[in-house]
Assembly symmetry: C2
Homo-oligomer: 275 residues x 2
């Protein structure tokens, strides 16, 4: 199905929201949905949870803060566990974004928990990546990892009503001063998602980034880089899965029995299995 | 070379030492080497460092605490970076242990930093796994992760001269009370590696575990389980490597160009590459 959707995709504005657990990504997504609905724009939200204990598949409408939009045909919310992709975005997440895109949703918000590789992988599906942080921690900021400055198109200091919010913004701005210029300097926006303060500013920053992307072939270049990374990502996931398949069943047991009996060394056994 | 060594291996006593950074694994390894040398036993030490910035290969004799044994032909020390195995033990580590074994070293100490998968993987090379902890932290103990109780054959509370050492031992014993019995209850030994206190007790515990292993076919069963895991481990590493190889070069560029041009979807492209 996702294969058939490919030619029809590429029209949606896909915005990624990532950040450590507890910074308020879901609240921020809900506030953005409310903002878009007030402007009569349709929006789909895909929440990818790498730490979900769900055994797989998808859970519908389980996100309390989105319940204000239950029954609204202009809002689609789906959660998915990212099983099958240890530390990264599941191949199914690419398909889900593509289906929402092909189905005509003009805006798709993709929320990923900033744990391990999933944080960087959001850039593989989103045209604009919003990195959410919250005040607190050593630098006046919660856990901003090295490398995040290459991922972010927009920074949000959420929970801006808390102590340390100004320090967090200052810290981010100083770090951005040190990052090599890429033609676009990620703006740093302060929000308080629960009271919706600053959410207009955040959306304005996202729109500015999208406007910048449309100039000079940037959107096409980014799309090409994204597709290249996606092909690699899916191929590596499938190669790993195929390798795991070779490591079970009667053929595997038979090869291992020869190793245990001392008739085959483990390295040759691995080669024989991959054949 | 490692393939040729396989038939000649299986005689060495391979003892794994693992634990979080800073608990004193290297000091403990040095103290064990000194103890074995006093008993005129030869010993090889392999230190596998998953966080090493080394570009690969091995570094000889770079371990300050081992310098007491520099020039002693009864001691062999080698460090290796665990590149090529993100979060786990590199296939080269299996080969290195096998070569030392086949070369006739009666004792091989394998030291792995307890970070991510490398900690559990030490069980794939060692017959006896010593898990080292140090006093400190919330439970009177530094970072003992869930799952460690299935890995350990012997627990060591090192830096036992520090406050909290008794609490750490008590915590481990209480946890071991809750773990399902496996026929062998890991003893908890207190050591102060730098003054060599308790190191005799540690070695006695290791010998007791080895004596227990020799009964009722346990050593053979464990060896079979270890070889099964090794074959799987090496096959998965090679499958991942082979997948990565397919994702570069002119053939990859050509397939990606078709995706970017909209003539092929990413999922079919991945299949074509793995073909």
């Amino acid at each position: 199905v996702a294969r058939l959707a490919f030619p029809a995709s590429g029209r949606a504005g896909v915005v990624g929201l990532t950040g450590s657990p507890g910074v308020g990504k879901s609240s921020l997504a809900a506030a953005l949905v409310a903002l878009l609905r007030r402007a009569d724009e349709r929006v789909a939200v895909l929440a990818v949870d790498p730490s979900s204990p769900l055994s797989g598949g998808a859970v519908l409408g389980d996100r309390v803060r989105m319940q204000a939009h239950a029954g609204d045909p202009g809002v689609f919310v789906r959660s998915m566990a990212s099983r099958g992709a240890p530390g990264g975005l599941a191949p199914a997440a690419f398909d889900a974004v593509r289906l929402l895109d092909a189905a005509g949703w003009p805006w798709v918000l993709v929320e990923t928990v900033g744990v391990g590789q999933a944080e960087a992988d959001v850039r593989l599906v989103a045209e604009t990546v919003v990195v959410v942080v919250a005040p607190g921690g050593g630098d006046g900021i919660q856990a901003v990892k090295a490398g995040i400055y290459e991922i972010a198109d927009v920074f949000v200091v959420n929970k801006a009503d808390r102590p340390g919010a100004d320090e967090a913004r200052g810290h981010l701005e100083r770090m951005l001063d040190l990052v090599p210029a890429r033609g676009w300097r990620p703006p740093v926006v302060a929000t308080t998602a629960v009271s919706r303060e600053g959410v207009d500013d955040l959306w304005a920053a996202v729109r500015r980034h999208r406007a910048w992307l449309t100039q000079g072939g940037r959107r096409e270049a980014r799309r090409a880089a994204r597709l290249t990374a996606e092909v690699r990502h899916v191929a590596l996931a499938r190669a790993g899965h195929a390798g795991a398949e070779r490591c079970r069943g009667p053929a595997f047991d038979e090869v291992v029995a020869r190793v245990v009996a001392g008739r085959l060394d483990p390295s040759s056994a691995a080669d024989a299995l991959l054949g």
